[in-house]
Symmetry: C2
Subunit: 320 residues, 2 copies
């Protein structure tokens, strides 16, 4: 939640001169996005979002992310469309950073999730997976099983500072999950970080999917497992079976799930819980003095992990 | 540059239900304002700025600030207009903070100031002073001579950490200024903080004066002295006599300056330099670990103070 790079009006005006987007009326740095600097830019034609990519984004990945947004938006997925400059490029440079402008999506992200929003999410996620099927670029999921092991190695020695016994508990989960991780499930481009703050709504109507900067290739149903964790637990960490049922069934109505996918959901949900538990644990144990971003409590995902560990079949998630 | 209070979409929707501003389409926390949390709110009718007043603003002062904006906007000053809720009030409550919505002003603030912008500023400042003449509320300037003494007392012991000899130098300036500070100059409501980031332009056309949270009653020409410091020095701290001449003469064309006001400008400019030097010095010496705001270098204003100290008459500023 920060603006890392100071952009002056004169810099922005010179940048916009290479686009056909109208005349600059106003721009504001926005407190959104942990990794990048974002600005809401208003011209006399429309609002846009301008992103300057900061250190934590690998420049080599940017053609994948921007290409994916072009691809999905062209197929009707409600995601930001990168704006091409007059030279046809959407990835340019501003204030010494790689920078891109994308279309503005209206809508707000929910703090108190309605079951109907979970249904809308499920349908939109399945639609995104279908639309991504013929996207030609590839990006591996660096935050899958092998990546979790690296993260765990980097913080296991201090894991018990967060909760006594956490190191041993996580080591067992990692071993279990690695041993049982599925092979051969339908794969494609996944969002991989579809938390509520990345999904905009107007009431229960989904108006936007944003923040594709963790998108990668992996099992499609793993994306659904991420959403189960992020959307279907209440603030007291109780699992909400109604929301899960609506999410999964709405997804399956658009893209039917194979029996192997359905069978894999409990393990994938457990894996997704490990993934966010580990990144949060890592950030928690490696807080930077004076950082602009407050790390999230890893114990939220420990509770979710324990829940999924005891689930024997996808029926527990309400999948019809 | 921060958002201190987390506002959820549901909170904001409930808040907006008390206004006749249309339906919420989107809102973003904006990285603007050191003291408060600010949001750009887009409804299906217009953009607005929503401010939540945080700890550093005295709630008792809010009726003055909001009343002043109402008063000035009604008289054609290009400043934000507070929006009244259906009950007629513009000061309300959101997420446990006093909160107000104001109209959105387009335009951008300049990093590289054009002389024509100084002329536009001078005219707008004089117009604001005239429009404020019949504003009935009053607020003393806590950051005038008596306030500077308090600030100095709070940091003089460590002033030499910033520059050797600074304590003695500032003590002499404060004594000189207090002894010669004028009495009886034309007074009224002043902005008191009209730095470039508080003034919006479309090219050389001034489109907005914002951030009235230091506004108070004082000598009108002191406001001009603040602007001389903030607008008429180059990045290398050289004084730009062309900009000063354009600022002062454009002001005087709208509100003619009396001989006593003209004679007072060098001392008031020196006082204004002391005022910003002292608050920057105080913030520099009292940096908060992990603060969201980086303090500004006080030495910028030390250079300006030294410049004004040697000025004998307003002719040096180009006043015709």
């Amino acid at each position: 939640m920060a603006v890392y790079t100071d952009v002056g009006a004169e810099d922005l005006e010179a940048f916009l001169a290479d686009y056909d987007v109208g005349r600059l009326r106003s721009f504001k740095g926005i407190a959104e996005g942990v990794e990048n600097s974002n600005f809401l830019v208003l011209t006399d034609r429309a609002p846009f979002i301008l992103t300057l990519y900061e250190k934590r984004v690998e420049p080599a990945d940017l053609p994948f992310f921007l290409g994916l947004m072009h691809h999905l938006a062209a197929r009707g997925v409600p995601c930001p469309t990168p704006i091409r400059a007059r030279d046809g490029e959407s990835l340019r440079d501003l204030c010494g950073r790689p920078a891109a402008m994308v279309s503005f999506l209206s809508g707000v992200w929910p703090r108190r999730i309605l079951p109907g929003q979970c249904a809308a999410l499920g349908g939109a996620l399945a639609g995104m997976h279908q639309a991504g099927a013929d996207f030609s670029l590839r990006r591996p999921n660096n935050l899958s099983v092998a990546g979790w092991r690296l993260l765990f190695a980097g913080c296991e020695a201090r894991a018990d500072q967060v909760e006594s016994g956490l190191r041993a508990e996580l080591a067992r989960d990692l071993a279990d999950i690695a041993e049982s991780w599925p092979v051969g499930l339908p794969s494609g481009v996944i969002h991989a970080d579809l938390f509520p703050d990345n999904v905009f709504f107007d009431g229960e109507t989904l108006t936007g999917l944003i923040d594709f900067y963790f998108a990668c290739n992996d099992f499609l149903v793993y994306d659904l497992a991420v959403c189960l964790n992020a959307w279907c637990f209440e603030r007291d960490l109780q699992f909400n079976a109604t929301k899960a049922r609506m999410l999964l069934n709405a997804y399956a109505r658009v893209r039917p799930l194979s029996p192997a996918e359905v069978a894999a959901i409990p393990l994938l949900a457990r894996g997704a819980a490990v993934r966010f538990l580990l990144t949060r644990l890592y950030d928690w144990l490696n807080q930077i003095e004076g950082a602009l971003v407050t790390p999230k409590d890893p114990r939220e995902y420990l509770a979710k992990l324990r829940f999924h560990r005891d689930v024997r079949s996808a029926a527990a998630y309400g999948l019809a």
